[in-house]
């Protein structure tokens, strides 16, 4: 391993050869963290933030007596401190995720991504949970600091099949989650942008931070087929005889428009939306997650 550049561990083509998901997640996270700038604070240490005047009802134990000795006024010390958060990963396991024009399907890419993020969250002391979603919740791993192995095991043995209805699943997740935390949605987002916005809006209303990783295969965008043929919907099984070369332009326009609408709707809902191509390394997704995590976990 030492002979290989750390960034190489983030290459999907290389990751596809690793069957052990925990090993893969650890490799990815180690490789990723090795390249991060040291100024980024991570960890569980407690650091001073500022003083504020005492107000009735404050905990008397947090009064800074030294400042009182010098100023004869009561001030309380405040600290910047990380708190353990609930990270719930929602992985779309519908049939549409089982597609690849290269070596890695969207579902495998999503599994790697979720495993890596979970591994990293675990290292930060967060509680990690997992939801496998199709048109309903297929698997449910409640967030816990001890559920990483269960999460990885579940990811190792799941398959992408069936129809998907993310808004419905997200509504259920909203009802199940009482404690605010972070919801990481990994999906190909073949949903109506408005419906998806309403679903993530509900999560946001409950105080959850939401990160959406929109996985995309290059062939889904390019429609690189020339021969007339029958296309089968991976979720519904519906078949259509098509001449791709005649439809390609209009199809691309629709895909671009769909993504633009998704980005707008997610931004409006104050949700991080990250479009991830399955032929791209994992670091972009990891960085996006980390930024959001650092921003969301600063409590006083």
């Amino acid at each position: 391993m030492t002979g290989i550049a750390p960034a190489a561990f983030l290459d999907p083509a290389l990751l596809s050869g690793i069957s052990d998901l925990p090993l893969l997640a650890r490799t990815v996270v180690d490789g990723f963290l090795h390249g991060l700038h040291r100024s980024v604070r991570i960890g569980t240490s407690v650091d001073f933030a500022e003083h504020r005047p005492y107000q009735p009802g404050d905990d008397l134990r947090r009064i800074d007596w030294r400042v009182y000795g010098r100023t004869d006024r009561f001030y309380l010390k405040t600290y910047e401190a990380d708190t353990n958060a609930d990270i719930l990963f929602v992985l779309d396991s519908s049939g549409s995720m089982d597609f690849a024009s290269g070596t890695l399907t969207k579902f495998d890419y999503g599994r790697f991504l979720v495993a890596s993020l979970a591994w990293m969250a675990q290292r930060q002391g967060d509680r990690v949970g997992l939801v496998l979603a199709t048109d309903d919740i297929v698997e449910w791993v409640p967030p816990s600091t001890r559920h990483l192995n269960l999460l990885l095991h579940t990811l190792s043995h799941c398959k992408a099949t069936g129809e998907g209805q993310l808004p419905r699943v997200l509504e259920k997740v909203t009802q199940l989650r009482g404690r605010s935390g972070m919801v990481v949605l990994v999906s190909d987002c073949y949903e109506d942008p408005d419906a998806l916005r309403r679903a993530v809006g509900s999560l946001r209303t409950r105080g959850h931070d939401v990160v959406v990783f929109h996985l995309s295969d290059p062939a889904e965008v390019e429609l690189p087929y020339d021969a007339p043929g029958t296309f089968e919907d991976a979720e519904t099984g519906v078949r259509l005889p098509l001449k791709p070369e005649e439809l390609r332009t209009r199809y691309r326009d629709m895909v671009v428009e769909h993504r633009r609408a998704l980005a707008e709707k997610m931004a409006a809902a104050n949700v991080d939306y990250q479009l991830v191509s399955t032929d791209a390394p994992l670091d972009g997704a990891l960085r996006s997650y980390l930024d959001r995590r650092l921003m969301g976990t600063k409590v006083r």
Binding site: G95, S96, M97, D98, F99, A100, S101, T103, T105, K106, D188, Y190, D217, E220, P224, Y225, D226, A227, P228, G229, T230, F231, E232, D233, A234, E235, T236, V238, R239, L240, P241, L242, K243, E246, L247, R250, Y251, M254, V255, H258
Partner: protein
């Protein structure tokens, strides 16, 4: 070079052409579908049905269709027809000239005109035209096969002589068709030079001609259809022996005479005038001319009746051969103690008849040796069992016959009689019910010929009081039964001979049959049939075959025109064809002295009817030979195979087309599509 198909039904398989088209249109649906994450966007794009049903790959479709079409054509077995090739290639005509030489063509006005017309047909041909010459009457003979040498054809035409036979156009057309087929020609003209007698159109409905054969009739009918002909003759024998005479009556038929005609009919017997009669012939009708009886010379008498000749001379003579008076010897075997009354009726009845007459001789059963039997035609056993000697059995099997009349002695006999067709079971006494009658009679049997057509009542009128009860053996035929079901007359055939066992009493002891009018004809027919007697006809019709019923070696037959013919006396080829009218006389070894057998031949009476049918009606009823395979069937196998080998090339082209289809299918976007699909399949993502 036209061609047709040996198995055209296979062309129906051309409907299979729809298969590659439908497959082509449905190909995308039948391919393994390309699994795509979501058709959410693609479904929103309007898909026009016409696009889905449009042929997307014309070269592939055309190659597949071509393969199907060629395969179907190959299985239909195309065959090249070179019909008319000789005509078309050279631009020359092919003519088959058929000249009628039947008796009616001997009309004084007709035959010269027919020959002139026939010659004119040949002379009108251009150089290079081919012609065949056929002479026909009721049969056809190719006088000259197809040749471009017109002089040879004219020479062959000159050898044709008018005959005495009837007319049958079908024979001429069939011979013409065979000539053309043998020369591999389906297109030609058949010219029939004839008087086109209406009576000669028989058999045309059985004929089929290829469409390319045109038939043209040249009518050479006389200016007048008036004709008188002797159409028949009857000869009655008056008395027998040396004082025998014959009375000849001729039947003269007149047609289309302008007025009543007075003519003289002459009778000749053995080439000597024997009488004449003046006769007034009606314009249309039949008149009988009876000559005075003339003495019958010993042996056969050749009788000829002649009429004053008119323009058609051939039917003004009529010939007949009156055979010598035939006498059949019957040997009568009866027990010594049999009363004379028991044999009286049977013997008298047999002796009464003439032509042939029967001569009865009493014999003892033990005296029936080969020598005695050799001169006999029949043995009549009256209540006596036939002998079981080898000589008698061999005599029966050689074609002779015996009648066994079962009386009370035979009925009571318990001895086995192996030659008899039944076993005896006593006697039936029908006195109580006033006698029985015959109940079931096989009227189709020759014995009962005189009683057909209502005459059976005469037979049924006889009553039988006593008769022998018999049980028929297997293999024998019961010809008559009594009304109680008991067999009355049984026949058994022994090779060429026969034995008839009769329970019908022939005397008055057993009933009143001898007193009935049916008795005489019955017993005479019984004797004639059992003796195997067949009367010889007075004359035969020209065109028939004649084979003298003689066991004579080195037979020589003199024909009416003086020619001598030595027929093969072994086998059916020994018969000769009676082509000419007149007397045919058979001699032994040399044509000298008295003939051993004679026969008279006369033209068919219908040939005297000169009524002609229009030339346009010549082909009425002739079918068109749609198969046109006659010539092909006659071709050598190598050439037949040569003409049918197209299927091999077609299958070869099919193979090439399929290879091209496979190659084309792997080119261009088809190949890329396959590669894409296989690539996806290898990852397991696209199923």
């Amino acid at each position: 070079m036209p061609f047709s198909f040996l198995v055209p039904a296979f062309l129906a398989a051309m409907a299979a052409l729809a298969i590659p088209i439908v497959m082509h249109l449905r190909q995308r649906d039948k391919q393994r579908p390309l699994r795509f994450p979501s058709l959410m966007f693609l479904r929103r794009i309007a898909i026009e049905t016409s696009h889905r049903r449009r042929v997307t790959d014309w070269p592939l479709l055309l190659l597949r269709a071509l393969a199907v079409v060629l395969a179907v054509l190959a299985f239909a077995r195309p065959v090249i027809q070179k019909r008319g090739s000789a005509v078309a290639s050279a631009g020359n005509r092919v003519v088959v000239l058929a000249l009628d030489r039947s008796m009616s063509m001997s009309h004084a006005e007709v035959w010269p005109a027919a020959m002139d017309s026939a010659r004119a047909v040949i002379r009108d041909l251009s150089a290079g035209d081919r012609v065949a010459v056929i002479a026909f009457d009721d049969d056809a003979v190719v006088m000259q096969p197809l040749t471009a040498d017109h002089a040879t054809a004219l020479a062959a035409l000159g050898t044709i002589e008018v005959g005495s036979r009837g007319t049958r156009f079908a024979a001429a057309l069939r011979a013409a068709r065979q000539q053309l087929a043998a020369a591999n020609l389906h297109s030609a003209e058949v010219v029939v030079v004839s008087d086109l007698q209406r009576s000669g159109t028989g058999g045309l409905s059985d004929l089929a001609l290829p469409p390319g054969i045109a038939v043209r009739g040249i009518v050479v009918a006389p200016t007048s259809l008036a004709n008188s002909a002797i159409s028949g003759m009857t000869v009655e024998r008056l008395g027998g022996g040396a004082a025998g005479r014959i009375a000849v009556t001729a039947e003269v038929t007149s047609r289309a005479l302008p007025e009543m005609r007075r003519a003289t009919a002459s009778l000749m017997v053995n080439n000597r005038p024997a009488g004449s009669r003046q006769v007034e012939l009606p314009a249309n009708g039949v008149r009988s001319v009876a000559f005075d009886p003339v003495a019958l010379p010993p042996g056969e008498a050749r009788v000829t009746v002649s009429l004053d000749p008119d323009l058609l001379v051939a039917d003004d003579h009529f010939n007949a051969v009156v055979p010598a008076e035939a006498t059949q010897k019957i040997l009568v075997v009866a027990p010594a103690d049999l009363s004379a009354a028991s044999t009286l009726f049977a013997e008298r009845a047999l002796e009464i008849g003439t032509d042939p007459s029967f001569r009865l001789e009493r014999r003892n059963a033990a005296a029936l040796d080969a020598k005695t039997l050799a001169s006999a035609a029949l043995v009549l056993f009256l209540d006596a069992a036939p002998p079981t000697s080898d000589a008698f059995t061999a005599w029966i099997r050689s074609g002779h016959g015996a009648i066994v009349v079962a009386g009370p002695r035979m009925a009571a006999s318990r001895t086995v009689m192996p030659l008899l067709p039944a076993t005896m079971a006593g006697e039936v006494d029908r006195l109580a019910d006033r006698g029985g009658t015959l109940g079931d009679i096989a009227m189709e049997h020759p014995i009962f010929t005189p009683f057909r057509g209502g005459g059976s009542g005469v037979l049924l009128g006889a009553r039988f009081i006593r008769y022998a009860r018999m049980t028929a053996d297997t293999g024998s035929e019961v010809l008559a039964r009594f009304d109680d079901g008991a067999p009355a007359l049984i026949e058994r055939r022994l090779d060429a001979g026969r034995i008839l066992l009769s329970a019908i009493p022939l005397d008055t002891r057993g009933g009143d049959f001898p007193l009935q009018p049916a008795y005489l004809p019955f017993i005479r027919r019984l004797a004639l049939h059992t003796a195997g007697y067949e009367p010889q006809p007075l004359w035969r019709t020209t065109g028939e075959g004649w084979r003298p019923a003689l066991s004579v070696s080195e037979l020589v037959i003199a024909t009416p025109d003086g020619a001598l013919v030595r027929p093969d006396t072994n086998g059916v080829r020994g018969a000769i064809s009676l082509d000419a009218g007149g007397f045919y006389q058979a001699y032994q070894a040399r044509a000298a002295g008295e003939p051993v057998a004679s026969v008279a031949a006369n033209p068919p009476p219908r040939e005297s009817d000169l009524t002609a049918s229009p030339a346009s009606e010549l082909l009425l009823g002739v079918r068109e030979d749609a198969s046109e395979l006659t010539a092909t069937e006659l071709l050598p196998l190598a050439e037949v195979e040569q003409r049918q080998r197209l299927w091999r090339f077609l299958l070869l082209i099919v193979l090439v087309a399929l290879v091209a289809e496979s190659w084309l299918g792997s080119q261009g976007w088809r190949g890329r599509a396959s590669a894409t699909r296989s690539e996806l399949s290898s990852t397991g993502m696209a199923t």
